[in-house]
């Protein structure tokens, strides 16, 4: 009986003992922090993931994590921070090429067209395979801007046949955008009030402008004829104001028309780029 009670007591003691009852897992170890950060990252909880990653990076240098942080910042549209992280991977890193590709992709996403034009000439980007994607994005950036487009044959050399068939379509659309001339719109409205607006496809505004100016002009003429000097000059002034206002409005209308056309084009191009992931290959290590 004594032995039996001793065994039971020992067992009880062992159960109560902390060392026996709890595992010795350190939840705050670097590896566990990384695991937790990966989980947060894949659940798009980027800011909290970055906090954990930064603690991990303070102890271990890991290019994959830096790359992931850059992509996370870009997803949050914090392009400046994303570019900084990508820049840190340009040299002595296994992600040197990917970082350059992503750097250009980020620049295009941030609409930094001039920066793309500037950086493409820098030797650090022109190293073998790393040039392919930046060069593609450089030519696409030209389509976003208002500068002269390159020769279409140049595109054939850079893009794959599949990509080229789409890009060529965008190229010719951009080359033949149905833009309206601001001067023409102004001159047309000067000749016949409202004609400039009709030219910019604002038919209702054009007809109204014509009727409005004509009515005021008629009133001015009728009052001059009836020798009502004050009213005649008043209506003459109003006619002049609305006549000039219509010329001004036609020029503005042409400018708005062109802006809308350019906006639609850019939107379609951006949708295509998103579809092909900006010509950058997809990574399978980001969230798996």
């Amino acid at each position: 009986m004594k032995i039996f009670s001793t065994v039971i007591l020992t067992l009880l003691l062992l159960l109560v003992n902390n060392d026996f009852g709890q595992s010795k897992v350190n939840l705050f170890s670097l590896q566990n922090r990384k695991k937790f950060a990966d989980y947060l990252f894949c659940n798009k909880d980027y800011l909290r993931a970055f906090d954990e990653y930064k603690i991990y990076l303070s102890e271990v240098n890991n290019d994959t994590i830096k790359f992931k942080i850059a992509l996370g910042f870009r997803k949050m549209r914090r392009y400046g921070e994303a570019l900084d992280y990508l820049k840190s991977l340009f040299f002595n890193s296994k992600f040197a090429i990917q970082a350059r590709n992503e750097y250009f992709k980020t620049l295009l996403m941030a609409n930094k067209i001039n920066a793309i034009r500037r950086y493409i000439k820098e030797p650090i980007f022109i190293t073998g395979d790393s040039l392919k994607v930046p060069l593609k994005l450089f030519y696409v950036a030209k389509m976003f801007g208002n500068t002269n487009l390159p020769d279409s044959n140049e595109l054939k050399k850079i893009f794959t046949p599949e990509e080229y068939s789409q890009i060529d379509r965008f190229y010719w659309t951009k080359k033949n955008l149905p833009l309206k001339s601001l001067t023409k719109a102004g001159i047309l409205s000067a000749l016949i009030p409202g004609l400039g607006k009709i030219y910019t496809q604002n038919y209702g505004d054009g007809i109204t402008a014509f009727l409005f100016t004509a009515a005021l002009g008629t009133l001015a003429y009728a009052n001059f004829k009836a020798r009502h000097k004050f009213r005649a000059w008043l209506f003459s002034g109003l006619t002049a104001l609305f006549y000039s206002g219509n010329i001004y409005g036609s020029v503005a209308s042409a400018q708005i028309f062109n802006a809308k056309i350019a906006f639609d084009f850019r939107k379609k191009l951006k949708l295509y780029l998103e579809k092909v992931n900006y010509f950058v290959p997809q990574y399978n290590f980001i969230c798996n």
Partner: protein, 148 residues
């Protein structure tokens, strides 16, 4: 005889148009929420000579017309606000031309809702920065976000 027909036609026209007024005055659902009072502050903006003139006209317009006519302008900003903002953003001459153009567009009976983005309150969004003839100011991202 002709006179009588004309008077009758006139009376009938008044009757028809008067009938539409019932829509405006029809019984509305009971609500205990007080409507926000839009207080017009009559102040002369004297930041520049041009704005001072336009501001005087705006005050006169509010006092004599707008207060009685109510909130009937289909645009946001309203034509009077557009005028003042246009003069502030540019100068008296360009502002006047911008206003003349806006006023013509306002009188357009054929204007469609597809021409302008419609705001939640039903107003047509037509900002001044579109008409400053500065391409940099034409931010279509903001413009289309106002589209309902």
């Amino acid at each position: 005889m002709m006179k009588a027909i004309l008077i009758l036609a006139l009376l009938l026209t008044i009757d028809i148009t008067a009938q539409t007024d019932w829509q405006r005055w029809k019984a509305s659902d009971i609500t205990y929420r007080t409507a926000p009072q839009k207080k017009v502050i009559f102040m002369l903006d004297s930041s520049s000579f041009g704005i001072e003139i336009v501001s005087a006209f705006q005050n006169a317009y509010y006092l004599l017309f707008s207060n009685y006519d109510g909130d009937n302008c289909p645009f946001n900003p309203t034509c009077s606000h557009f005028f003042v903002q246009a003069v502030k953003a540019t100068n008296i001459l360009q502002g006047a031309l911008m206003f003349a153009d806006r006023f013509t567009r306002d009188t357009n009976l054929f204007k469609t809702r597809s021409q302008y983005p419609v705001e939640k309150n039903g107003k047509l969004f037509d900002p001044i920065y579109f008409y400053e003839l500065d391409l940099k100011n034409i931010n279509l991202k903001n413009y289309f976000s106002a589209w309902k």
